[in-house]
Symmetry: C2
Subunit: 199 residues, 2 copies
Amino acid sequence: MKKQSTEIRQKQIKEAFLDIIHSDGLKSLSTRNLSKKIGLSEGSIFRHFASKQDIILAIFSDVDRDFIDSLRIIANSSESPEKRLSKLLCRTVTYLVDNKGVTMLLFSEASHNNDTELKTRLLHIFNSQKKLVSKIIHDGIAIGTWDESLHVDNIAMLYMGIPVTVNIELILNGGQFHSQNFCQQMMTLLERILNKENA
Amino acid sequence: MKKQSTEIRQKQIKEAFLDIIHSDGLKSLSTRNLSKKIGLSEGSIFRHFASKQDIILAIFSDVDRDFIDSLRIIANSSESPEKRLSKLLCRTVTYLVDNKGVTMLLFSEASHNNDTELKTRLLHIFNSQKKLVSKIIHDGIAIGTWDESLHVDNIAMLYMGIPVTVNIELILNGGQFHSQNFCQQMMTLLERILNKENA
DNA sequence: TACTTTTGTAAGCAAATACTCACACCAATG
DNA sequence: CATTGGTGTGAGTATTTGCTTACAAAAGTA
Protein backbone atom coordinates (compact mmCIF):
# COMPACT_ATOMS: atom_id res chain seq x y z
CA MET A 1 0.00 0.00 0.00
CA LYS A 2 1.29 3.40 -1.03
CA LYS A 3 2.22 5.75 1.76
CA GLN A 4 -0.11 8.59 2.67
CA SER A 5 -0.08 11.37 5.20
CA THR A 6 -1.74 10.85 8.57
CA GLU A 7 -4.28 13.48 7.61
CA ILE A 8 -5.51 11.54 4.60
CA ARG A 9 -5.45 8.22 6.44
CA GLN A 10 -7.46 9.60 9.34
CA LYS A 11 -10.08 10.79 6.92
CA GLN A 12 -10.21 7.40 5.22
CA ILE A 13 -10.45 5.61 8.53
CA LYS A 14 -13.32 7.78 9.73
CA GLU A 15 -15.17 7.28 6.46
CA ALA A 16 -14.72 3.52 6.56
CA PHE A 17 -15.86 3.54 10.17
CA LEU A 18 -19.16 5.19 9.27
CA ASP A 19 -19.53 3.01 6.20
CA ILE A 20 -19.32 -0.13 8.27
CA ILE A 21 -21.83 1.18 10.81
CA HIS A 22 -24.24 1.94 8.02
CA SER A 23 -23.88 -1.26 6.05
CA ASP A 24 -23.13 -3.95 8.63
CA GLY A 25 -24.01 -2.53 12.03
CA LEU A 26 -21.96 -1.82 15.09
CA LYS A 27 -21.10 -5.41 15.82
CA SER A 28 -18.97 -5.56 12.70
CA LEU A 29 -17.08 -2.50 13.79
CA SER A 30 -13.78 -4.11 14.71
CA THR A 31 -10.37 -2.74 13.89
CA ARG A 32 -9.90 -5.93 11.86
CA ASN A 33 -12.87 -5.13 9.62
CA LEU A 34 -11.89 -1.53 9.48
CA SER A 35 -8.47 -2.33 8.07
CA LYS A 36 -9.95 -4.79 5.60
CA LYS A 37 -12.37 -2.16 4.31
CA ILE A 38 -9.61 0.33 3.65
CA GLY A 39 -7.11 -2.21 2.39
CA LEU A 40 -4.66 -1.14 5.03
CA SER A 41 -3.07 -3.34 7.68
CA GLU A 42 -4.48 -3.28 11.18
CA GLY A 43 -1.22 -2.00 12.56
CA SER A 44 -1.40 1.04 10.30
CA ILE A 45 -4.69 2.09 11.83
CA PHE A 46 -3.05 2.37 15.20
CA ARG A 47 -0.33 4.42 13.64
CA HIS A 48 -2.88 7.13 12.80
CA PHE A 49 -5.18 6.81 15.78
CA ALA A 50 -4.03 5.96 19.27
CA SER A 51 -7.08 3.82 19.96
CA LYS A 52 -10.45 2.84 18.59
CA GLN A 53 -12.10 5.26 20.97
CA ASP A 54 -10.01 8.04 19.49
CA ILE A 55 -11.60 7.38 16.12
CA ILE A 56 -15.03 7.79 17.66
CA LEU A 57 -14.00 10.99 19.38
CA ALA A 58 -12.67 12.36 16.12
CA ILE A 59 -16.01 11.64 14.47
CA PHE A 60 -17.77 13.43 17.31
CA SER A 61 -15.62 16.46 16.64
CA ASP A 62 -16.63 16.33 13.00
CA VAL A 63 -20.31 16.23 13.91
CA ASP A 64 -19.80 19.14 16.23
CA ARG A 65 -18.06 21.15 13.58
CA ASP A 66 -20.23 20.30 10.57
CA PHE A 67 -23.68 19.81 12.00
CA ILE A 68 -23.93 21.87 15.16
CA ASP A 69 -22.19 24.82 13.54
CA SER A 70 -24.68 24.82 10.68
CA LEU A 71 -27.49 24.90 13.25
CA ARG A 72 -25.82 27.76 15.03
CA ILE A 73 -25.74 29.79 11.84
CA ILE A 74 -29.45 29.21 11.31
CA ALA A 75 -30.33 30.06 14.91
CA ASN A 76 -28.37 33.30 14.82
CA SER A 77 -29.56 34.52 11.45
CA SER A 78 -31.71 37.61 11.08
CA GLU A 79 -34.80 35.78 9.88
CA SER A 80 -38.03 35.55 11.85
CA PRO A 81 -38.17 33.07 14.76
CA GLU A 82 -40.75 30.94 12.92
CA LYS A 83 -38.52 30.72 9.90
CA ARG A 84 -35.45 29.97 11.97
CA LEU A 85 -37.14 27.26 14.02
CA SER A 86 -38.52 25.66 10.90
CA LYS A 87 -35.16 25.70 9.17
CA LEU A 88 -33.45 24.34 12.26
CA LEU A 89 -35.81 21.40 12.41
CA CYS A 90 -35.65 20.66 8.70
CA ARG A 91 -31.88 20.86 8.67
CA THR A 92 -31.72 18.45 11.60
CA VAL A 93 -34.01 15.92 9.99
CA THR A 94 -32.11 16.14 6.73
CA TYR A 95 -28.82 15.64 8.48
CA LEU A 96 -30.06 12.59 10.36
CA VAL A 97 -31.47 11.00 7.21
CA ASP A 98 -28.33 11.76 5.23
CA ASN A 99 -26.15 10.39 7.99
CA LYS A 100 -28.37 7.41 8.58
CA GLY A 101 -28.56 6.97 12.28
CA VAL A 102 -24.88 7.61 12.83
CA THR A 103 -25.42 9.83 15.83
CA MET A 104 -27.72 7.31 17.40
CA LEU A 105 -25.37 4.46 16.73
CA LEU A 106 -22.52 6.38 18.25
CA PHE A 107 -24.89 7.02 21.10
CA SER A 108 -25.42 3.29 21.33
CA GLU A 109 -21.67 2.80 21.40
CA ALA A 110 -21.33 5.37 24.15
CA SER A 111 -23.84 3.70 26.41
CA HIS A 112 -22.56 0.27 25.51
CA ASN A 113 -19.09 1.07 26.72
CA ASN A 114 -20.40 3.27 29.52
CA ASP A 115 -17.70 5.67 28.51
CA THR A 116 -17.68 8.97 30.40
CA GLU A 117 -15.82 10.92 27.75
CA LEU A 118 -18.17 9.78 25.00
CA LYS A 119 -21.20 10.49 27.13
CA THR A 120 -20.00 13.97 27.89
CA ARG A 121 -19.49 14.70 24.23
CA LEU A 122 -22.96 13.39 23.41
CA LEU A 123 -24.54 15.43 26.14
CA HIS A 124 -22.80 18.44 24.70
CA ILE A 125 -24.19 17.83 21.21
CA PHE A 126 -27.62 17.20 22.69
CA ASN A 127 -27.60 20.32 24.87
CA SER A 128 -26.20 22.52 22.13
CA GLN A 129 -29.26 21.81 20.07
CA LYS A 130 -31.58 22.39 22.99
CA LYS A 131 -29.98 25.73 23.73
CA LEU A 132 -30.34 26.89 20.14
CA VAL A 133 -34.01 25.96 20.19
CA SER A 134 -34.51 27.78 23.48
CA LYS A 135 -32.80 30.85 22.08
CA ILE A 136 -35.10 30.99 19.07
CA ILE A 137 -38.18 30.56 21.21
CA HIS A 138 -37.04 33.31 23.56
CA ASP A 139 -36.54 35.56 20.55
CA GLY A 140 -40.05 34.78 19.34
CA ILE A 141 -41.48 35.61 22.73
CA ALA A 142 -39.43 38.81 22.95
CA ILE A 143 -40.77 40.20 19.71
CA GLY A 144 -44.30 39.25 20.69
CA THR A 145 -45.20 36.52 18.20
CA TRP A 146 -45.16 33.73 20.74
CA ASP A 147 -46.86 33.31 24.07
CA GLU A 148 -44.81 34.70 26.95
CA SER A 149 -46.44 32.40 29.49
CA LEU A 150 -44.73 29.37 27.93
CA HIS A 151 -42.09 27.35 29.74
CA VAL A 152 -39.35 27.48 27.18
CA ASP A 153 -37.42 24.53 28.59
CA ASN A 154 -40.39 22.27 28.26
CA ILE A 155 -40.89 23.14 24.63
CA ALA A 156 -37.22 22.65 23.92
CA MET A 157 -37.52 19.22 25.51
CA LEU A 158 -40.56 18.40 23.40
CA TYR A 159 -38.72 19.63 20.34
CA MET A 160 -35.73 17.40 21.04
CA GLY A 161 -38.03 14.41 20.95
CA ILE A 162 -38.51 14.94 17.23
CA PRO A 163 -34.98 14.30 15.97
CA VAL A 164 -34.53 11.55 18.49
CA THR A 165 -37.66 9.80 17.30
CA VAL A 166 -36.52 10.18 13.73
CA ASN A 167 -33.34 8.41 14.73
CA ILE A 168 -35.22 5.55 16.29
CA GLU A 169 -37.43 5.11 13.26
CA LEU A 170 -34.32 5.08 11.12
CA ILE A 171 -32.67 2.37 13.13
CA LEU A 172 -35.69 0.18 13.65
CA ASN A 173 -36.85 0.45 10.06
CA GLY A 174 -33.42 -0.25 8.67
CA GLY A 175 -32.63 3.21 7.39
CA GLN A 176 -36.02 3.83 5.81
CA PHE A 177 -37.79 7.04 6.66
CA HIS A 178 -40.64 8.50 4.70
CA SER A 179 -40.31 12.09 5.55
CA GLN A 180 -42.05 14.04 2.83
CA ASN A 181 -43.03 17.29 4.48
CA PHE A 182 -42.28 15.68 7.81
CA CYS A 183 -40.51 18.65 9.31
CA GLN A 184 -43.13 21.10 8.04
CA GLN A 185 -45.85 19.02 9.63
CA MET A 186 -44.02 18.90 12.93
CA MET A 187 -43.48 22.63 12.67
CA THR A 188 -47.23 23.12 12.28
CA LEU A 189 -47.79 21.27 15.53
CA LEU A 190 -45.11 23.27 17.31
CA GLU A 191 -46.72 26.50 16.18
CA ARG A 192 -50.02 25.46 17.72
CA ILE A 193 -48.15 25.36 20.99
CA LEU A 194 -46.21 28.56 20.47
CA ASN A 195 -48.78 30.90 19.02
CA LYS A 196 -50.18 33.52 21.35
CA GLU A 197 -53.87 33.17 20.70
CA ASN A 198 -53.92 29.52 21.80
CA ALA A 199 -54.73 29.77 25.49
CA MET B 1 -25.15 -23.90 45.58
CA LYS B 2 -28.52 -25.22 46.56
CA LYS B 3 -30.69 -26.46 43.72
CA GLN B 4 -33.58 -24.37 42.53
CA SER B 5 -36.22 -24.73 39.87
CA THR B 6 -35.59 -23.30 36.40
CA GLU B 7 -38.41 -20.85 37.01
CA ILE B 8 -36.71 -19.31 40.03
CA ARG B 9 -33.30 -19.31 38.40
CA GLN B 10 -34.61 -17.60 35.28
CA LYS B 11 -36.07 -14.89 37.44
CA GLN B 12 -32.79 -14.45 39.30
CA ILE B 13 -30.84 -14.32 36.08
CA LYS B 14 -33.09 -11.68 34.56
CA GLU B 15 -32.88 -9.59 37.70
CA ALA B 16 -29.10 -9.82 37.84
CA PHE B 17 -28.99 -8.94 34.15
CA LEU B 18 -30.85 -5.70 34.73
CA ASP B 19 -28.88 -4.99 37.89
CA ILE B 20 -25.62 -5.15 35.97
CA ILE B 21 -26.94 -2.90 33.22
CA HIS B 22 -27.97 -0.36 35.80
CA SER B 23 -24.86 -0.41 37.95
CA ASP B 24 -22.01 -1.16 35.56
CA GLY B 25 -23.29 -0.62 32.04
CA LEU B 26 -23.73 -2.90 29.11
CA LYS B 27 -20.06 -3.59 28.61
CA SER B 28 -19.94 -5.52 31.88
CA LEU B 29 -22.83 -7.64 30.80
CA SER B 30 -20.99 -10.90 30.19
CA THR B 31 -22.24 -14.31 31.18
CA ARG B 32 -19.15 -14.47 33.36
CA ASN B 33 -20.19 -11.40 35.36
CA LEU B 34 -23.75 -12.56 35.41
CA SER B 35 -22.84 -15.82 37.09
CA LYS B 36 -20.60 -14.05 39.57
CA LYS B 37 -23.41 -11.69 40.54
CA ILE B 38 -25.80 -14.55 41.28
CA GLY B 39 -23.19 -16.80 42.83
CA LEU B 40 -23.99 -19.48 40.35
CA SER B 41 -21.59 -21.14 37.94
CA GLU B 42 -21.56 -19.96 34.36
CA GLY B 43 -22.56 -23.38 33.13
CA SER B 44 -25.74 -23.21 35.20
CA ILE B 45 -26.85 -20.10 33.41
CA PHE B 46 -26.84 -21.99 30.14
CA ARG B 47 -28.83 -24.72 31.78
CA HIS B 48 -31.71 -22.26 32.31
CA PHE B 49 -31.34 -20.14 29.18
CA ALA B 50 -30.25 -21.47 25.82
CA SER B 51 -28.23 -18.37 25.06
CA LYS B 52 -27.52 -14.86 26.21
CA GLN B 53 -29.88 -13.51 23.60
CA ASP B 54 -32.62 -15.67 25.07
CA ILE B 55 -32.25 -13.80 28.34
CA ILE B 56 -32.77 -10.52 26.55
CA LEU B 57 -35.79 -11.87 24.73
CA ALA B 58 -37.28 -13.05 28.01
CA ILE B 59 -36.85 -9.57 29.44
CA PHE B 60 -38.57 -8.11 26.40
CA SER B 61 -41.49 -10.40 27.04
CA ASP B 62 -41.62 -9.15 30.61
CA VAL B 63 -41.71 -5.54 29.44
CA ASP B 64 -44.43 -6.40 27.00
CA ARG B 65 -46.50 -8.09 29.67
CA ASP B 66 -45.95 -5.68 32.56
CA PHE B 67 -45.59 -2.30 30.89
CA ILE B 68 -47.47 -2.39 27.62
CA ASP B 69 -50.40 -4.21 29.18
CA SER B 70 -50.72 -1.56 31.85
CA LEU B 71 -50.81 1.09 29.11
CA ARG B 72 -53.46 -0.88 27.28
CA ILE B 73 -55.68 -0.88 30.35
CA ILE B 74 -55.35 2.89 30.66
CA ALA B 75 -56.03 3.49 26.97
CA ASN B 76 -59.13 1.33 26.98
CA SER B 77 -60.62 2.64 30.18
CA SER B 78 -63.85 4.59 30.25
CA GLU B 79 -62.32 7.88 31.34
CA SER B 80 -62.14 10.99 29.19
CA PRO B 81 -59.50 11.10 26.43
CA GLU B 82 -57.66 13.92 28.22
CA LYS B 83 -57.48 11.90 31.40
CA ARG B 84 -56.41 8.76 29.57
CA LEU B 85 -53.69 10.49 27.57
CA SER B 86 -52.39 12.17 30.69
CA LYS B 87 -52.33 8.91 32.63
CA LEU B 88 -50.68 7.12 29.74
CA LEU B 89 -47.89 9.64 29.61
CA CYS B 90 -47.37 9.76 33.36
CA ARG B 91 -47.36 5.99 33.62
CA THR B 92 -44.76 5.82 30.85
CA VAL B 93 -42.47 8.36 32.45
CA THR B 94 -42.78 6.64 35.81
CA TYR B 95 -41.97 3.29 34.30
CA LEU B 96 -38.90 4.61 32.52
CA VAL B 97 -37.60 6.29 35.65
CA ASP B 98 -38.28 3.24 37.79
CA ASN B 99 -36.62 0.99 35.26
CA LYS B 100 -33.72 3.37 34.70
CA GLY B 101 -33.09 3.35 31.02
CA VAL B 102 -33.48 -0.38 30.67
CA THR B 103 -35.54 -0.18 27.50
CA MET B 104 -33.05 2.18 25.95
CA LEU B 105 -30.11 0.05 26.93
CA LEU B 106 -31.77 -3.00 25.51
CA PHE B 107 -32.35 -0.86 22.47
CA SER B 108 -28.67 -0.13 22.42
CA GLU B 109 -27.95 -3.84 22.64
CA ALA B 110 -30.32 -4.51 19.76
CA SER B 111 -28.70 -2.03 17.44
CA HIS B 112 -25.25 -3.01 18.59
CA ASN B 113 -25.75 -6.60 17.59
CA ASN B 114 -27.84 -5.64 14.58
CA ASP B 115 -30.14 -8.43 15.66
CA THR B 116 -33.31 -8.77 13.61
CA GLU B 117 -35.32 -10.58 16.26
CA LEU B 118 -34.48 -7.99 18.90
CA LYS B 119 -35.23 -5.13 16.55
CA THR B 120 -38.59 -6.61 15.67
CA ARG B 121 -39.49 -6.92 19.32
CA LEU B 122 -38.45 -3.34 19.98
CA LEU B 123 -40.39 -2.06 17.02
CA HIS B 124 -43.40 -3.88 18.41
CA ILE B 125 -43.08 -2.24 21.82
CA PHE B 126 -42.58 1.14 20.16
CA ASN B 127 -45.52 0.76 17.80
CA SER B 128 -47.81 -0.59 20.49
CA GLN B 129 -47.42 2.63 22.39
CA LYS B 130 -47.95 4.72 19.29
CA LYS B 131 -51.16 2.86 18.47
CA LEU B 132 -52.54 3.39 21.95
CA VAL B 133 -51.83 7.10 21.71
CA SER B 134 -53.48 7.27 18.29
CA LYS B 135 -56.52 5.45 19.61
CA ILE B 136 -56.97 7.92 22.46
CA ILE B 137 -56.59 10.89 20.14
CA HIS B 138 -59.11 9.43 17.71
CA ASP B 139 -61.52 8.98 20.61
CA GLY B 140 -61.03 12.59 21.63
CA ILE B 141 -61.73 13.77 18.10
CA ALA B 142 -64.77 11.50 17.83
CA ILE B 143 -66.46 12.95 20.90
CA GLY B 144 -65.66 16.46 19.74
CA THR B 145 -63.15 17.69 22.33
CA TRP B 146 -60.20 17.68 19.96
CA ASP B 147 -59.66 19.18 16.56
CA GLU B 148 -60.75 16.88 13.74
CA SER B 149 -58.38 18.48 11.26
CA LEU B 150 -55.36 17.07 13.10
CA HIS B 151 -53.08 14.47 11.58
CA VAL B 152 -53.22 11.88 14.32
CA ASP B 153 -50.07 10.05 13.20
CA ASN B 154 -48.01 13.19 13.46
CA ILE B 155 -49.15 13.86 16.99
CA ALA B 156 -48.49 10.27 17.98
CA MET B 157 -44.99 10.69 16.60
CA LEU B 158 -44.49 13.90 18.53
CA TYR B 159 -45.81 12.19 21.63
CA MET B 160 -43.37 9.29 21.27
CA GLY B 161 -40.53 11.78 21.37
CA ILE B 162 -41.32 12.46 25.03
CA PRO B 163 -40.54 9.04 26.53
CA VAL B 164 -37.62 8.65 24.19
CA THR B 165 -36.14 11.94 25.30
CA VAL B 166 -36.67 10.98 28.92
CA ASN B 167 -34.66 7.87 28.22
CA ILE B 168 -31.83 9.83 26.72
CA GLU B 169 -31.72 12.25 29.62
CA LEU B 170 -31.64 9.29 31.97
CA ILE B 171 -28.72 7.69 30.21
CA LEU B 172 -26.69 10.82 29.65
CA ASN B 173 -27.27 12.16 33.13
CA GLY B 174 -26.44 8.87 34.78
CA GLY B 175 -29.92 7.94 35.92
CA GLN B 176 -30.83 11.40 37.20
CA PHE B 177 -34.05 12.90 36.04
CA HIS B 178 -35.78 15.80 37.71
CA SER B 179 -39.29 15.19 36.68
CA GLN B 180 -41.50 16.97 39.17
CA ASN B 181 -44.72 17.58 37.29
CA PHE B 182 -42.88 16.72 34.11
CA CYS B 183 -45.64 14.69 32.57
CA GLN B 184 -48.31 17.22 33.51
CA GLN B 185 -46.30 19.97 31.88
CA MET B 186 -45.87 17.96 28.72
CA MET B 187 -49.56 17.20 28.79
CA THR B 188 -50.30 20.91 28.91
CA LEU B 189 -48.30 21.39 25.75
CA LEU B 190 -50.00 18.50 24.01
CA GLU B 191 -53.39 19.96 24.85
CA ARG B 192 -52.46 23.22 23.18
CA ILE B 193 -52.03 21.16 20.03
CA LEU B 194 -55.12 19.05 20.48
CA ASN B 195 -57.72 21.56 21.59
CA LYS B 196 -60.23 22.65 19.03
CA GLU B 197 -60.15 26.41 19.47
CA ASN B 198 -56.44 26.62 18.57
CA ALA B 199 -56.47 27.19 14.85
C1' DT C 1 -34.63 -48.67 48.30
C1' DA C 2 -33.38 -48.06 43.24
C1' DC C 3 -34.16 -45.40 39.27
C1' DT C 4 -34.45 -41.33 36.53
C1' DT C 5 -34.42 -36.50 35.97
C1' DT C 6 -32.94 -32.13 37.03
C1' DT C 7 -29.59 -29.00 38.60
C1' DG C 8 -24.94 -27.78 39.74
C1' DT C 9 -19.84 -27.32 38.72
C1' DA C 10 -14.97 -26.82 36.96
C1' DA C 11 -12.39 -26.86 33.21
C1' DG C 12 -11.75 -25.67 28.85
C1' DC C 13 -12.70 -24.39 23.88
C1' DA C 14 -12.68 -21.69 19.63
C1' DA C 15 -13.21 -17.29 18.13
C1' DA C 16 -12.85 -12.49 18.41
C1' DT C 17 -11.05 -8.34 20.25
C1' DA C 18 -7.96 -4.09 20.82
C1' DC C 19 -3.55 -3.33 20.57
C1' DT C 20 1.93 -4.03 20.10
C1' DC C 21 6.27 -4.83 18.02
C1' DA C 22 10.23 -5.78 15.24
C1' DC C 23 11.32 -4.78 11.05
C1' DA C 24 11.00 -3.02 6.07
C1' DC C 25 10.42 0.62 3.06
C1' DC C 26 10.39 5.21 1.22
C1' DA C 27 10.85 10.18 0.89
C1' DA C 28 12.74 14.22 2.34
C1' DT C 29 16.59 16.56 4.46
C1' DG C 30 21.42 17.45 5.81
C1' DC D 1 25.39 10.10 -0.20
C1' DA D 2 23.95 8.95 4.50
C1' DT D 3 20.64 9.93 7.95
C1' DT D 4 16.34 10.55 9.80
C1' DG D 5 11.60 10.15 10.59
C1' DG D 6 7.23 8.97 9.15
C1' DT D 7 4.50 5.10 7.13
C1' DG D 8 3.41 0.23 6.12
C1' DT D 9 3.23 -4.73 7.46
C1' DG D 10 2.45 -9.57 9.42
C1' DA D 11 2.83 -12.02 13.17
C1' DG D 12 1.85 -12.11 17.77
C1' DT D 13 0.04 -10.80 22.53
C1' DA D 14 -3.15 -11.03 26.41
C1' DT D 15 -7.74 -10.91 27.41
C1' DT D 16 -12.52 -11.59 26.94
C1' DT D 17 -16.38 -13.63 25.00
C1' DG D 18 -20.40 -17.05 24.59
C1' DC D 19 -20.89 -21.54 25.08
C1' DT D 20 -19.88 -26.83 25.81
C1' DT D 21 -18.92 -30.94 28.18
C1' DA D 22 -17.95 -34.63 31.46
C1' DC D 23 -19.20 -35.61 35.62
C1' DA D 24 -21.21 -35.12 40.54
C1' DA D 25 -24.94 -34.59 43.50
C1' DA D 26 -29.46 -33.60 44.85
C1' DA D 27 -34.45 -34.12 44.17
C1' DG D 28 -38.30 -36.46 42.46
C1' DT D 29 -40.56 -40.89 41.58
C1' DA D 30 -41.27 -45.90 41.51
